[in-house]
Amino acid sequence: MNLIITNNSTKPIYEQIVQQIKENIMDGSLKPGQPIMSMRKLASELHISVITVQKAYESLQRDGFIETVSGKGTYVSNYNIDFIQEEHLRRVEIHIEEAVQIALENGIDVEKIIELVRLFYST
């Protein structure tokens, strides 16, 4: 698993952890059923507070990316392809929303946007 956090980002540390663990899961470096480090161990490795890591793990657990088995530890969820796709789609949505927002603010036509999208798809 790759995990690098920075104090220089406006993003709170726990969000960085959530995002990066999600990315690790999506690109396959963390496989379904694979155990991940305990909260305390991760906090110790990153030299951050346990509470921070706890927040991150709770968020990931709520969204179904990881699960904790009592007495055994924390594991990457056995997810299915649809679930991943959903997550990918969600990220695309966010970006599109942002793009549309800028377009609206600056009077750019929706047709122009669609043209751009097609262009990117073909390359």
Binding site: P12, R40, A43, S44, H47, I48, S49, V50, I51, T52
Partner: protein, 295 residues
């Protein structure tokens, strides 16, 4: 003996008066399994508070419980489960590491000689040399090792990293992080070195002039507190309610605020910087308040 408790330390309404100083109604709880950092100026009351928690001073009033227990009824059980490190190394110069092992195994039923020796070895502390010859860093590490080898549930440190170089401090922090891997273990430590606390503490307790002014999750404190910087002319426009404390310099006013996001939205044209623990403390120590409120 199995101890059942939620808070490793409970302090309620602690009052202690000295000639020139007073601990005023100090209250806080230290939850099990957490690292709590305790900061404040010299003379603000950190050591007095810790001494009260260790039952080393007679308090004027207030309740102190450790592991849910009272010193008056369970003094020995409490002491068996606390490891203490003070900033002045408390062991006889003429003893050596091995003799300390022999002494402590006769003082604590849970003394872990293997842990002690492993740590001593990994820090390269010479076993047969008088500890009086050790450097300050070595002495403090030894102090922490001795406390840890007692297998305590609670580790209390009073300025134990003051005066140490960054390498030694890092070693001690690593020891603490390893200690806290067990959820039953708690750490309460006072320090000037806010840098260390900013890294590993779960909660921060700030004391000023004998009173607790802040006690919250470290993350929340860092997220919420900020420094609003304004030109002298704009300072008038800031609501005094929004200002915790302010400082002025040649070119600008700096205001400590306790809800960064809201303030940035309220004063979009002014700069709101992040505040470190040192910044927060400094504003309380050196800052002014508008007339009507006192710090």
């Amino acid at each position: 003996m199995e101890l059942a408790y939620d808070n490793a330390i409970e302090v309620k309404g602690l009052n202690k008066k000295y000639k020139n100083f007073k601990l005023n109604n100090v209250s806080f709880n230290i939850p099990k399994g957490r690292i709590v950092g305790f900061i404040g100026q010299n003379g603000a009351g950190k050591s007095t508070t810790i001494n009260a928690i260790l039952n080393l001073v007679e308090k004027d009033s207030g309740d102190i419980k450790l592991f849910g227990m009272d010193y008056s009824k369970n003094s020995m059980i409490i002491k068996e489960n606390i490891g203490v490190v003070f900033d002045d190394f408390n062991f006889h110069d003429i003893l050596n590491v091995k003799e300390l092992d022999n002494i402590f195994k006769r003082l604590y039923s849970k003394w872990d000689a293997i842990l002690y020796n492993n740590y001593v070895n990994s820090f390269g502390l010479p076993k047969n040399q008088n500890i009086g010859t050790f450097s300050k860093g070595m002495k403090m590490k030894l102090g922490v090792i001795i406390a840890l080898a007692q297998k305590p549930k609670l580790l209390i440190m009073d300025e134990a990293t003051t005066g140490l170089d960054v390498g030694a401090r890092n070693d001690i922090l690593d020891l603490l992080l390893e200690f806290i891997q067990d959820e039953e273990h708690t750490v309460f430590f006072s320090s000037h070195i806010t840098n260390d606390l900013e890294k590993i503490a779960d909660y921060i307790l700030i004391i000023h002039d004998g009173e607790i002014i802040i006690y919250d999750e470290k993350d929340k404190i860092i997220e919420n507190f900020g420094i609003l910087k304004s030109k002298k002319t704009d300072f008038e426009k800031i609501d005094s309610e929004d200002i915790v404390a302010f400082r002025r310099n040649e070119f600008s006013y700096e205001c400590l605020v306790s809800n960064k996001e809201k303030i940035q939205n309220k004063y979009p044209k002014m700069i709101v910087d992040n505040a470190t623990l040192d910044d927060i403390l400094l504003f309380y120590i050196k800052g002014e308040q508008n007339a009507g409120n006192s710090l």
